[in-house]
Amino acid sequence: MKVTKIALILGLASTLPNLVNAATLEQVMKKGVLNCGVSTGIPGFSATDSKGVWKGIDVDFCRSVAAAVLGDASKVKYIPLTAKERFTALQSGEIDLLSRASTWTATRDTSLGLNFAGVNYYDGQGFLVNKDLGVTSAKELDGASFCIQAGTTTELNLTDYFKSNNMEYKAVTFDTSGQTIDAFKKGRCDAVTSDASQLYGLRIKLDDPKSAVVLPDIISKEPLGPVVRQGDDEWFNVVRWSLFATLEAEELGVTASNVDKQLKSANPSIKRLLGVSGKAGENLGLKSDWAYQIVKQVGNYEEMFENNVGKNSPLNIDRGLNNLWNKGGLMYAMPIR
């Protein structure tokens, strides 16, 4: 009896390492839900409202991918991650997609086993200071203390900036952006530095948001975008083209409210986008109405932007660099054809 047991255990153990190794797209379709890594709370990008519902431009991107892949934007499981956890969560397969205001850098793209699928927000690092300090430019911050979130590109940029300008600074690092702004509120530091978009979000968390200003200086390039695991090109394509579809929809004037009407449009580009003609969906391994579902259920890029961080939100951030290429911005979608 013992011998059979041993044999059984040995047999079992030898089969274990060869368990299913399914591709992400297939897995997501099988599970019927998209595991999407978001932040623990960056207003405008990914944060819960008072009822615990996730809102934000990054959250909308998760929903777009779910709409494209599963046909239902609500089939997303949001996994809040600290800056520290985000890449390991993706590497380890806990999440299928990381949409968490992550900066695209060479190191991250090449040495972490990750791929950036595109840029959904062009950002830059800025400073938030108290008005009564009387500071108008970052150059006047010599000797100041800065509250920063640990493990971000921000931390490295700050060093570079102060070194190249021959100034001194003190860094006080925290785990989450919430702790960062809390410490600033209590006077632990003179300024908060982070991506400029986040600073506007953090400022609302002050007792008196008008007591602090975001300085005009931008000291770095911070292209933020969705991230997937390296080595799964099929999934990478789905994520990248979901992003392009939202931009293309804006460019073609397709919005959530007029998308049904646009199905009958004669414009060949719109036809190809919405799957009336062409094989874009099929080639991606998706249904032909993938982009229609994105626009119908989530909206185009303009709608995502304005509702979460732009005019229709408390952050009220200008489109700026994030405008379409033909309107003076950097947003440029590859043609769908």
């Binding site: 299913v20 709370g41 615990g52 499981k77 380890s92 702790q179 609302i204 968390k205 007792d207």
Partner: protein, 359 residues
């Protein structure tokens, strides 16, 4: 050589009684003692009245936050956010489910020791966790609530309860393994595991569980974040329980082992019927102590991004319409933890007395 001189005899102690005598004897017996007493009274005077004022007399118990005029605690914040402190993001319409689990648990704890039939006891012990799990998570016709929505006190208690229950059998096996002198390999493995776990802080184990554990499995196997934290906590607690039970095993006289053998009992029969009941009984105070530490340690799950009751303080406080209420939040959570831990330690004293069969 030393020369010693005779000291004078001291007067006999007084035999009088009464309040004044008690005061003089206990508070003002010597000059340093009097000074200490005065210092103590001054300390109480400077801390207790302001604290009571803040917490009770000057506190705001109702109304909206715009109407707050008093200096003391603004408990309206806690009242407003009470549901989040208790259940996290658990859907409001389904709060009856964790409530029902709480009621079942109380009934369970209360009635199990009073049941006479071993079979019913055993069955209900097996059924209880299953029922609780289905009620909280859903399934079998109940709406499923994903673990990412669990939070607050509910999550704290759940993590502690699972940690305590699941670590217990593992802890016993580890303790027996460590005590098995005739099996050096098993002993080494157990000692290695126990000492490794006890040598590192819980937070590194939680990091390991939350960040590295998924890398140990193939892609197809998926773990929930909460489940991973629970695995980490269970392994951690098992090592500590093993050490407590080992202490109990060592205290059992050798005669007991020999007696069980001479009765012809096998190793497991002897352990289950003779040795373990005695060993566990002596270990009860330390076991409860270890449970209390675990209950306190559940706060660490906030560092890996789970929303236990302590994490709720920060979370509720980042609500832009309720800024600046964190002191109330901290005090509220402190009180909850204190009540739980203090009552557990008092309960252990009661049990210790009840099971004390020494004559």
């Amino acid at each position: 050589m030393a020369v010693y001189t005779m000291k004078e005899a001291k007067p006999a102690p007084s035999t009088s009684k009464g309040l004044v005598f008690w005061l003089r004897e206990n508070l003002f017996s010597t000059i340093p003692n009097t000074l200490l007493t005065l210092l103590g009274i001054y300390f109480i005077y400077t801390t207790i009245p302001p604290l009571l004022d803040w917490m009770i007399f000057d506190a705001t118990w109702s109304g909206t936050k715009e109407e707050v005029v008093k200096e003391g605690a603004r408990w309206i914040f806690i009242i407003e956010k009470f549901d989040q402190f208790m259940y996290g993001f658990y859907p409001e319409a389904l709060h009856w489910r964790p409530n029902l689990v709480a009621i079942i648990s109380i009934i369970f704890v209360f009635f199990i020791p009073r049941l006479s039939s071993i079979k019913i006891k055993f069955v209900s012990m097996l059924l209880y966790p299953v029922v609780c799990f289905i009620l909280i998570r859903g399934g079998l016709g109940l709406e499923v609530v994903g673990t990412e929505k669990w939070g607050g006190l509910m999550l704290t208690i759940l993590v502690a309860a699972v940690g305590i229950i699941a670590s217990f059998p593992i802890g016993i096996l580890l303790a027996l393994g460590r005590q098995s002198d005739n099996m050096p390999i098993v002993k080494t493995l157990c000692v290695g595991f126990i000492e490794f776990i006890r040598g590192v802080p819980l937070i590194t184990i939680l990091f390991m569980a939350s960040v590295v554990l998924p890398l140990f499995f193939s892609d197809g196997i998926e773990f929930d974040k909460l489940l991973r934290a629970l695995i980490g906590i269970t392994l951690f607690q098992a090592a500590y329980i093993a050490e407590v039970i080992r202490g109990g095993l060592q205290a059992i006289p050798k005669g007991q082992y020999e007696a069980s053998e001479s009765l012809g009992l096998s190793y497991w029969q002897g352990m289950i019927l003779i040795i373990l009941p005695q060993a566990l009984k002596i270990s009860i105070p330390n076991l409860v102590g270890s449970f209390i530490s675990l209950f306190k340690d559940t706060t660490l799950v906030l560092i890996i991004g789970l929303f236990d009751i302590l994490a709720m303080v920060t979370l509720t406080n980042s609500d832009t319409s309720w800024l600046g209420f964190e002191i109330e939040g901290y005090v509220f959570v402190t009180l909850i933890y204190w009540v739980f831990c203090f009552s557990m330690s008092q309960y252990s004293r009661v049990i210790e007395r009840r099971y004390n069969t020494d004559h």
